[in-house]
């Protein structure tokens, strides 16, 4: 290719927008052609000088403070609310855990598991990107888990229900990889955890609804999988979603 043709692609190349194959060819040419190389160097300097000159205006500290204040969520909503809820839930769980110690090892294990799930639920919702697969379509979400977790599961048809699927991620609970799905009903996010039931390693759990402190939890096993539904939605909502999940088999 003639230098002229390369020259027409130099800006694209330096802008990082030339397709890889062409970019590597042009890169080779630049190593052997001093004319094109000095042209490229000049363009780099030009870009650099625009960059330096363009960084010119700095905002005042007052403006930053004002906008940061206006952009922050109101107290007790959004992230702040979740952080507060997490702290409150943990405090209660710790207290409850201590109470339960006398009731036996199994109860303590159950408390640990519930608190781990409650933590995961809160931490996930508070994170910038709560889910790794974002989709309301179960036919997208279910296959996404293939190869990521050692089992498969079915998701219910949600059309006509109040629930919608937000997405999913892989979660680790007690050294076991499972599916963490997030559903929404009105203003509430609900976490659904699905893990392989592994007998001794997982504490035996009461099947059915449990009012776990500030969250409502429902749990059951089916086809060797342990399901947990947890959230601050009403017990009725938790039950309704659990029923849908069970119906999916």
């Amino acid at each position: 290719m003639a230098c002229e043709e390369w020259g027409s692609k130099l800006d694209l190349y330096l802008d990082g927008e030339l397709p890889a194959a062409e970019a590597s060819a042009l890169g080779l040419h630049l190593r052997s052609c001093s004319a094109c190389a000095s042209d490229a160097l000049e363009r780099v300097q030009f870009k650099r000088s625009v960059q330096i000159a363009g960084r010119r205006y700095a905002p005042s500290a007052q403006l930053r403070d004002k906008i940061a204040k206006d952009s922050a969520p109101a107290p007790l909503v959004g992230l702040r609310w979740w952080r507060w809820a997490a702290v409150a839930a943990l405090a209660l769980i710790v207290a409850a855990g201590a109470l339960y110690t006398s009731l036996g090892r199994e109860n303590a294990q159950r408390q640990r598991l519930y608190s781990e799930l409650a933590d995961l639920h809160v931490a996930t919702l508070a994170s910038v990107a709560p889910v790794d697969v974002v989709s309301s379509d179960r036919h997208t979400v279910k296959p996404w888990f293939q190869g990521r977790i050692p089992f498969t599961f079915n998701l219910p048809e949600l059309q006509g229900s109040e629930f919608s699927l937000v997405g999913g991620r892989v979660a680790y609970v007690q050294q076991s990889a499972g599916a963490h799905l997030i559903f929404q009903v009105r203003q509430h996010k609900i976490s659904v955890f699905i893990f392989p039931e592994r007998g001794a390693e997982m504490p035996s759990l009461a099947t059915g609804p449990v009012n776990q402190l500030s969250f409502n939890v429902e749990s059951w096993t089916r086809n060797g999988l342990r399901y947990f539904v947890i959230g601050d939605a009403s017990p009725d909502d938790i039950r309704a979603l659990s029923k849908l999940l069970r119906s999916a088999g």
Partner: protein, 181 residues
């Protein structure tokens, strides 16, 4: 099917938007060329974006979205109305400055930061804007396409013209400087 962003809106907005504050302000100041107007523009942008955040689509470009809001706010402001025509100017072949023969390396050696800033302030607004988005904000062609709502091909041609226009202004300044000596 992609769903609207279901993350906690108020919380995530702050997390996403505050890191953009300095660069949005710089851009606003270049657009308005005035401190008070730039401050108003940035405030308006954040207020609008916060209100609109629940409808912001996850998976789309947040930064491009913020710049789009800022730019639209600017264009609908009093100063911006005057600039609308300029920012949305059609690409005109005949408006292109002629290629010059000055060796470019010489040009840049002589052009200091202040001179480049002056030149940036003098090129047409739509040229200044795209140079800032690409070289200063380091947006990709795709991001600029989303921000300005123009096709990628237009991004490429406008950027190319903007560079030529800036070089031309710089050359005039350098020539003027020499005459003045």
């Amino acid at each position: 099917m992609e769903v609207p962003d279901q993350r906690l809106p108020a919380a995530t907005f702050e997390d996403l938007a505050m890191p953009l504050f300095d660069q949005l302000y710089n851009f606003a100041h270049w657009l308005t060329q005035d401190t008070a107007e730039a401050e108003d523009l940035v405030q308006e942008t954040y207020a609008k974006a916060l209100r609109g955040f629940p409808s912001f689509q996850l998976g789309t470009n947040f930064r491009a979205w913020m710049y789009r809001i800022l730019r639209n706010s600017f264009l609908s402001s009093r100063t911006g109305l005057k600039a609308t025509v300029i920012l949305d100017a059609e690409e005109q072949e005949d408006a292109l400055p002629k290629e010059t023969t000055t060796p470019e390396s010489l040009l840049l050696e002589q052009a200091n930061r202040e001179m480049v800033q002056q030149a940036l302030g003098e090129v047409p607004a739509h040229h200044r804007e795209i140079l800032l988005l690409f070289e200063v904000e380091e947006m990709s062609y795709q991001e600029i396409s989303e921000t300005l709502v123009i096709p990628i091909g237009t991004v490429m041609s406008r950027l190319s013209r903007a560079r030529k226009a800036l070089r031309s202004v710089l050359q005039q300044k350098l020539a003027g400087g020499r005459h003045g000596m």
